[in-house]
């Protein structure tokens, strides 16, 4: 009565297309092993170097794969669990660049705050792996595990600054609300699986597009989509699911806040685009209007709440909520143009926000970041103040910066779909938020502050490099955005089966 032994064939794996993930996880393992096994203390820069090298390697391999995909088309591997297409490679590059910037800014930060450097960098790399998996997943289970890898890494990164009074509160809030939102997402995944009979995004798209509203019972699928939207809205910090963002951004270390606002937000948007917009594209009628409403609420909340704040980090947090709203303007248009405008926005915003938080990190302070601390910064550190001004103006959407092109593209995609109310709202709100950004700029440049007794600000070379590079990217793509627009047009998700 022995069970019949069946021949098992393992699924084919294209290892080269998984190389970016291997490099990132490998980097994290190398950091942890070398620093814990070495008989002598390893200097802090070692972890930074490995972290930067691994992310750079991942980005380079992704560019090679990008060429392959352009020549021979997108494909899936490991039982269609991971899709290699323009979309996933775009996010691989974006996330890798985000990790490089965060690791370089974090180098001085971990030294100043006495945080264990190996763990900090290892968590950055593993969280980035989760982010890339989210952008490449062709299966809801894989997507969820990627999301958890990213989120749990971020909970710990937020908790690393537990000596500061706000640090513990931030970590606890982020953990509880993050776990809560993951539960929403998981319930949504369960209901979508229940109605479509598969967790594979490829199969889900086939079945929903062939059956349309005939999926039985369609209410179950609608509730599933609604729960997925709630889960993703939490992760991208879109209002009214943004309540964690200000406290968490304020309480976490500035480089970590920058990482959350850039890489984590980009990964959550990648998941939203891949699952809801592409795989469930046939059900556009069910999610387009809710997304437009989420977008409008985020833009309004981001604008109104940001101008009432006095803490620069909280201002940036609320502005990040607003930016999520602007990106959703492109997402809800549900067109190829809307998607590429959202990708452009994410790319541009990543460098603006990492740069902003790098400057905030240099200013560094134990108990909050009151705007008064930025008074007279232009006298003390003119270059730093100049760079921060560029980032703030770019976020406000001033022409000649990438922020302007990004806002222009998302609003254009909404107009093309004749959703005029949202386009008008977005334009009006961007004028309101400009007031908040200009308040910080005015504080830096115009006021006569007593700068003689202010503490001297040390700018580490690595941080200075990141700030300079972010300024360059923001300005270059603001003046000649064509190459990036072309890049985002090719970065379309393709849910195809097989190699």
């Amino acid at each position: 009565m022995f069970a019949q032994l069946t021949q098992f064939e393992s699924p084919p794996v294209d290892f080269f297309s998984l190389t970016p993930l291997f490099i990132l996880v490998g980097g994290a393992v190398v950091i942890m092993l070398v620093t814990s096994l070495s008989p002598r203390p390893i200097p802090g820069w070692f972890s930074t170097a490995v972290s930067v090298a691994a992310s750079a390697g991942a980005a380079v391999v992704a560019m090679v794969l990008w060429n392959d995909v352009r020549e021979s088309g997108p494909y899936s591997t490991v039982s269609d669990a991971i899709g290699i297409d323009g979309f996933s490679l775009f996010f691989t590059v974006l996330v890798s660049l985000g990790v490089i910037a965060t690791a370089l800014v974090g180098d001085a930060y971990v030294r100043r705050e006495h945080i264990a450097a190996p763990e900090f960098h290892a968590l950055l790399l593993t969280a980035a792996t989760g982010a890339i998996v989210m952008a490449s997943a062709n299966d809801l289970v894989v997507m969820f595990i990627g999301l958890e890898s990213l989120s749990i890494g971020l909970y710990i990164l937020a908790a690393m600054q537990f000596r500061r009074p706000h640090g513990r509160e931030a970590a606890m809030k982020y953990f509880v609300l993050g776990a809560f939102s993951s539960a929403f997402l998981l319930y949504g995944i369960a209901l979508v699986y229940g109605t479509t009979g598969s967790t594979s995004l490829i199969v889900i798209r086939e079945r929903t597009s062939s059956l349309g509203a005939m999926v039985s019972p369609s209410e179950l699928l609608i509730v599933g989509i609604a729960l997925l939207l709630v889960g993703f809205a939490f992760k991208v910090a879109a209002a009214p699911f943004h309540f964690w963002a200000p406290d968490v951004y304020e309480g976490s270390g500035s480089p970590v806040s920058g990482f959350m606002a850039s890489v984590a937000k980009a990964a959550a948007f990648a998941g939203l685009l891949r699952v809801v917009v592409v795989a469930l594209g046939a059900n556009e009628g069910d999610w387009a209007v809710p997304l437009a409403v989420l977008s409008a609420i985020s833009i309004i909340v981001g604008a109104v709440m940001a101008i009432t704040q006095n803490d620069v980090k909280r201002m940036l947090a609320f502005s990040s909520v607003g930016h999520a709203g602007y990106i959703l303007v492109g997402v809800q248009a549900a067109t190829a143009e809307g998607m590429s405008s959202a990708l452009f926005y994410l790319f541009a915003y990543t460098f603006m926000v990492i740069g902003s938080f790098a400057v905030v990190s240099v200013i560094g302070w134990d108990n909050g970041h009151p705007i008064e601390r930025y008074e007279g910064l232009a006298k003390r550190r003119p270059w730093l103040a100049g760079a921060f001004t560029v980032f703030l103006l770019a976020q406000a959407g001033v022409p000649m910066t990438a922020g302007f092109v990004a806002k222009f593209l998302v609003i254009k995609s909404a107009v093309a779909e004749e959703i005029y109310w949202l386009a008008i709202l977005a334009m009006v709100a961007s004028v309101i938020t400009a007031f908040m950004y200009l308040r910080i700029v005015m504080a830096m440049w115009a006021r006569d502050a007593d700068v003689d007794d202010a503490p001297r600000l040390a700018v580490a070379p690595a941080t200075a490099f990141v700030v300079a590079a972010a300024v360059a990217i923001t300005l270059v793509y603001g003046i000649i955005p064509d190459s990036l627009i072309e890049f985002t047009r090719d970065a379309v998700p393709a849910l195809v089966a097989g190699n």
Binding site: H114, G153, P217
Partner: protein
């Protein structure tokens, strides 16, 4: 009919356990209530003919993981009545109850809409009666979900790093070795 009775009894066990985890004042009682919920879920697995999963559920969750919880609770000495009433927001309980009722309403409505099961597979029958469920589990774990399975190891690395960081006391000598500046 017998299926329905088994389902209702197991569901009741799960729910009582879940509520007990939250309302118990003593952390040890909470952990034991969790065992009850996990047992209820194991019964559901048996009712779905997934005997292997039911055994794993009891051995791993109820056996290993909750025992670990109990060890930690007792070693840390937090097995006393903890007062968790932190005040909270005004009207928090009313709002929570309202959301709960609305959520239950949505679920009940969805259940009435599901006429002949969500999938074509009738409840309580094995997917493939000729293959043992261990083989079926192995096939889905190492074929369709092999990437998710391997990716879980990354998640475990993160969890280990996190546990080390959060449980470690600040070490002044570490800061010196990193060339800490004031």
């Amino acid at each position: 009919m017998i299926d329905l009775i088994v389902f209702l009894v197991a569901a009741a066990i799960c729910l009582v356990g879940a509520v007990g985890v939250v309302v118990a004042r003593n952390p040890v009682h909470s952990a034991l209530m969790l065992v009850m919920t996990l047992f209820g879920i194991a019964v559901h697995f048996v009712a779905q003919e997934a005997h292997f999963l039911a055994a794993v559920q009891v051995i791993v969750y109820a056996g290993a993981i909750v025992v670990m919880f109990l060890f930690v609770i007792m070693l840390l000495g937090v097995d006393v009545h903890t007062k968790l009433d932190l005040g909270g927001l005004k009207g928090q309980r009313v709002a929570a109850a309202a959301f709960g009722v609305v959520g239950l309403g949505v679920l009940v409505f969805l259940m009435t809409r599901v006429e002949d099961g969500i999938t074509s597979q009738p409840a309580g029958t094995p997917i493939d009666p000729n293959t043992p469920d261990i083989n079926q589990l192995a096939h889905s774990l190492f074929d369709q979900y092999v990437f998710a399975f391997e990716l879980t190891s990354v998640l475990l690395i993160i969890a280990v790093i996190g546990a080390v960081i959060l449980s470690r006391k600040p070490r002044p000598e570490l800061e010196e070795s990193q060339g800490g500046e004031s």
